[in-house]
Symmetry: C2
């Protein structure tokens, strides 16, 4: 019984996560979630009160997933800059390969509801006070470290955001995208070093 309850609750959450990340809040209907989960429509409200509450739950998890991966990496002062970059890229490409819809969903919903994001994570403090920032500043004090964060995240995340464009353009297919991402695990750290060295 408690087993069964967790089952349906989890089924609903999984279905909601899939549809919300794929289509966004407004385009996802409660009946779609129920069908995807294979449960009766009423159970959604029974377990989660409302579509909005369910969504906030999912979004919180997704935001933590998206930003949480790399927090241990960028805050660990015992890792030097080059190793941090390697681990950062490694973790991101690995996670996003398994959750390709994550970035566009998270960016969308943060734009729609920035407050929820701020409350969900203390991203400001984590990011700005991280040892990563200091190490970047030490390496090249002339340039705003935000540039490097944007470059590092951009080079890791942007391919997943633009993947549908390249796929539709037939520039790449699923297989070559995977191969490209494997290459990027090694290349991005090299590129980031080249960028950090350039003046």
């Amino acid at each position: 019984m408690t087993e069964n309850k967790l089952d349906t609750e989890e089924k609903i959450k999984a279905a909601a996560a899939k549809l919300f990340t794929q289509k966004g809040y407004a385009a996802t209907k409660t009946r779609d979630i129920a069908e995807e989960a294979g449960i009766n429509l009423s159970l959604l409200n029974y377990y989660f009160r409302s579509k909005e509450k369910l969504f906030n739950l999912i979004m919180g998890e997704k935001i933590r997933q998206f930003f949480g991966i790399v927090v241990p990496v960028i805050t660990d002062a015992s890792l030097d800059l080059e190793l941090k970059i390697e681990l950062f890229v490694e973790k991101y490409i690995e996670t996003l390969t398994q959750n390709p819809d994550l970035p566009i969903f998270v960016l969308n919903e943060i734009r729609n509801n920035p407050k929820h994001f701020v409350e969900e994570i203390g991203a400001n403090k984590i990011l700005m006070s991280s040892s990563l920032m200091n190490q970047i500043r030490a390496k090249n004090p002339e340039i705003n470290p935000v540039h490097f964060i944007m470059n590092l995240m951009g080079m890791s995340v942007f391919p997943f955001l633009s993947k549908p464009v390249f796929m539709a353009s037939q520039v790449i297919d699923e297989k070559s995208f995977k191969a490209l991402m494997d290459e990027r695990r090694k290349l991005i750290p090299i590129w980031m070093n080249a960028i950090l060295g350039s003046k």
Copy 2:
């Protein structure tokens, strides 16, 4: 009369473009568009038949805007690689500064409807057969040129996609974002050269 007709038609299009790019298709209601445009709800269907037809019209324009900017640059064989990169960055940052919501809207809707994107633009041929591709290949034949396209686009576009994140995190404000983007106009070409030189 013809003047007035164009007026309301343009008012509806402008309102629709604003709301669709801001909130996406599903979250934008026809009544919202009518109110934003200051017109009677029925006029939307009178001029554009349906919400979907209006949306497709807007999306086509936005896709052309997003990809059209740089087509003359990347296809012009008389421009050398370094100049191409400079112009590419220049054009993109300029356009996106004035249309910050453009990237996330375009990426969203291409994911939702890749076919429409393919029909709208022959992006495949434009991109793959561009002189840019050949110039990249000539400069560094060992690496898939798609990497450089992703890096170049990513470094130019990603900041606008992630802007809400950095704003909400209070890492940057509107003014410093503008300043950062001005810096990036000069820095991205330097970085791209550093990347192209690294092996």
